[in-house]
């Protein structure tokens, strides 16, 4: 993907749910401060890949390297301590906690200060400042997604894994959420975005991976990928036949 040393490298990664193999030798590279998008239909293995990188799901074979160090055997808290934070699919806010507490808990494993704190999160998503005392789950879907992103940023990650952050949101809300991505990247945090909206993925990412049935079926820079090739890789059928 690039000539320099990648910040995050996934090499021939496999993962299983019991006897069911969900990932088959997946490769992925992310440059420092970069943004890659993973696209694919439901059941393609996108979320599984994110969960495996984050240490939530145990990796099978293969490696996950962060700055050249293997992290695929580490548990989720350890992976986070190394600088990989995840925004889980469906937001998964803590209903008994306020917006501010939901954000503060993101700094649970943080040692010392960093670029991201409550103030800078509120600068990124000003509406959260007004709602800071409200229960996290009393917000709209878009605002909840902002809290989920802010919560992950509170750990000052080097890599932010965003799993389906536009799922179930209105287009205007999705635009507001994605408007934050460049600012997050400028702060030095690299991003991996799982996205079903192909147009959105091509717009924000430097590099796109298309997955199907646990394998990467297509990858490349957005400008190098034709709509037909993406269509074929996404649905697994020839564009001509579809």
């Amino acid at each position: 993907m690039s000539e320099g040393e990648p910040l995050l490298a996934v090499e021939a990664l496999t993962a299983h749910y019991g006897d069911f193999q969900a990932l088959f030798g997946v490769d992925l590279h992310l440059d420092p401060g970069g943004c890659v998008a993973i696209i694919g239909a439901n059941g393609a293995g996108k979320t599984t890949l994110m969960r495996t990188i984050a240490g939530i799901l145990r990796a099978g074979a293969g490696r996950v390297l962060l700055d050249g160090a293997e992290i695929q055997r580490l548990a989720a808290p350890e992976v986070l301590r190394h600088g990989v934070a995840m925004v889980p699919e469906g937001r998964k806010l803590f209903p008994s906690l306020s917006v501010e507490e939901n954000l503060l808990i993101g700094a649970h494993e943080r040692k010392g200060d960093g670029r991201w704190n409550l103030e800078t999160i509120y600068d990124l998503f000003p509406i959260l400042r007004e709602r800071r005392r409200n229960p996290g789950t009393a917000l709209s879907g878009g605002q909840q997604q902002m809290v989920a992103i802010g919560r992950a940023l509170m750990s000052n990650p080097r890599v932010l894994l965003c799993d389906e952050i536009s799922l179930g949101l209105a287009p205007v809300v999705i635009r507001d959420i994605y408007a934050a991505v460049p600012r997050i990247r400028e702060s030095g945090t690299a991003i991996v975005v799982v996205e079903q909206d192909i147009g959105q993925a091509l717009k924000i990412a430097d590099y796109v991976y298309c997955m199907m049935e646990g394998r990467v079926t297509l990858s490349g820079r957005p400008s190098d990928l034709s709509r037909e090739a993406i269509h074929d890789a996404y649905f697994g059928v020839s564009h001509d036949l579809a």
Binding site: I56, A85, P88, S96, E119, R183
Partner: protein
Amino acid sequence: MSSSFSKGSARSLGIAIAVVLVLGMIAVPVIGSRALVQDLFSVLTLLVLALNWNMLAGFAGLVSVGQQAFVGIGAYVMFACTILWGLDPLVGVLVGGVAAMLFSIPMAFFAFRLNGAYFAIGTWAVADIARLVASQWTALGGGTGTSLPKGTTKDMFGVPFVKDLLDVSSAAAADAVTYWLALALALAMLTISYVFLRSKMGLGLQAVRDNLEAARSVGINPTRLKALVFTLCAFGTGLTGALIFIQITRVTPQAAFAVIDWTAFVIFIVVIGGIGTLPGPILGALVFYALERLLADYGTVYLIALGLLGIAVMLFARRGLWGLITDRTGFDLLPLGHAPPAPLSETRQPVPERT
């Protein structure tokens, strides 16, 4: 009068009332009857059990129905310390608490593999196994149990001193000592719970209860956190169990491992008071005590009334009586809100502007 002043005044008034109440409770053995001391001892020990269960179920999401295991182990080990090894019963209380905590480690190893209702049933099953093991302990009377030797509590640490100080009988002095210990346990449990729940770990615990996977994604180790709370609550419950049986002076497997007495009533107290709040169990313990006194002469009607009240609260006031009070008044006696860890202005760094 500004609202912040009103809130501050209410808090100051609340603290003042609490201090007076605690001082009054300390003075009960001096100014009150022995029956009152014994009644309040029951309330306080139930309160400690309730605070422990509330910490487990209300804040950690661990709905245990096996708390009687820790009560029973605490009681049995205290009896063993006193009868078999000749130690002071109060030393036995401490050893009983430690024994309950040690037992909770393998218990957690098995129970933490279960979730929800299976966890509840699993803890109940383990507690019943503990009861069966206790009933095989022939040195402590096997299935029929045993009693503390006559005069044991009279020579207990602190009793001769209190006897001379208050000029009362040895039995009344023993009641006073166990009462003060129960009061100290209740205050300690309340303080520790409050400080813990307002800490970073307390916030993490509530996150684990709310959503396990999301908690993992923010770097919390749910198993470690839940195991810590489970073992510490086992210690508190074991201490309380041992203390309760000093006053009863007789232990049997059926009494020490009674699921109704040490878990069902405790669940009732927490549910009607307000699960997941700290004042809730206090209110619940007082309501339970009042019902027990009012309906003591009505036999099974007492249990039916408890059940009906529990059902009514679960249907119409899911946050318990304390939840009703806070909803109506907006006043929270022991708020668990978390303040930011450091002044924001000191750590603030600019975020790149939108381009």
